[in-house]
Symmetry: C3
Subunit: 140 residues, 3 copies
Amino acid sequence: MVEFQVNSPTRECLVDITHQIQNAVTTACPPEFSGLVHVYVPHTTAAVTVNEGADPDVARDIIFALARMVPRDAGYRHGEGNADAHVKAALLGADLSVPVVDGHLKLGMWQSIFFADFDGPRRRRVWVEFIGALPSGMRA
Amino acid sequence: MVEFQVNSPTRECLVDITHQIQNAVTTACPPEFSGLVHVYVPHTTAAVTVNEGADPDVARDIIFALARMVPRDAGYRHGEGNADAHVKAALLGADLSVPVVDGHLKLGMWQSIFFADFDGPRRRRVWVEFIGALPSGMRA
Amino acid sequence: MVEFQVNSPTRECLVDITHQIQNAVTTACPPEFSGLVHVYVPHTTAAVTVNEGADPDVARDIIFALARMVPRDAGYRHGEGNADAHVKAALLGADLSVPVVDGHLKLGMWQSIFFADFDGPRRRRVWVEFIGALPSGMRA
């Protein structure tokens, strides 16, 4: 497992971590590695997601739409003032697996991997694990 | 990795791809393969999800409920008119892993695997990878 | 694969299953096992999620916020009166993978794994599979 840190600049933001994930694969795996990279967020008010990285407005729209769906104040019970952040983290999810082929992330043309913070700004952590595909020799 | 294509018939729809996923497993893996099949959508306005396949009204209700939660026009910044589709894709997620036992998908009785398009109709792609379970011989 | 059961006490609830997942790892894997544990819910009106376990109000707020986003009655087509539960299950997702290091779940400090029921009370099932990480010896 590889761990790296993310500094989220604002309370609610999507931070592109594609480059850090590729770095983790390059550092930890042999060049011929193919399989999955598992990305895990060990926090309860943050998440990981894949979406368009080319136009930064898409990330802002995701934050905006989630804020519309899950208002910051809506009669929640949790006393820390961040109940909305827990709900948003549940909606996007704490883990994600992305294909790797010959040591390179295999993403769609417009896809980036984002760390999503809903209760920043903070120093956050991301855990990365590497899972081999069924070897070709074992295939039908 | 196996790739196949999906033709989504309308802008927003769930297309049952259970059969194509099973075909990918049958074609690429030995009959005794057990582990996970990883299903990945390399698009930013589409997703993959598991839900009821028996009554097609369930798929329609999911599309309907998402449209209610994420209106098509709500003051988004992204200029392509499909910001709602990016948000819905983030909510359902781009990847999923389903158990495989002895070469067969192991789904719940009512479960099907769906490709979810929110910005069709289009020809889309799905990437499938195969991950072996910890061999029994290595178990405690 | 290991299967265990969960009794959900009410229609909509989050049940902490961290202990059962750890038990599955301890029972099925050698003490030095490192990789991922895959948690799968074979139902279409239930899900699995990771969030704060320390304050039970967080789980209640997640249920509350989902009920606000996806009303029980909103003109759905599905005739069984549980269309909202299918939608909520799609939002949280049927599967999740969590890191394991040396036989122990590696969760964030405040994280628990929850079975989420949206159409209980019922006896439900959870499927657990074990996926080895790329062995250190194969690493760069």
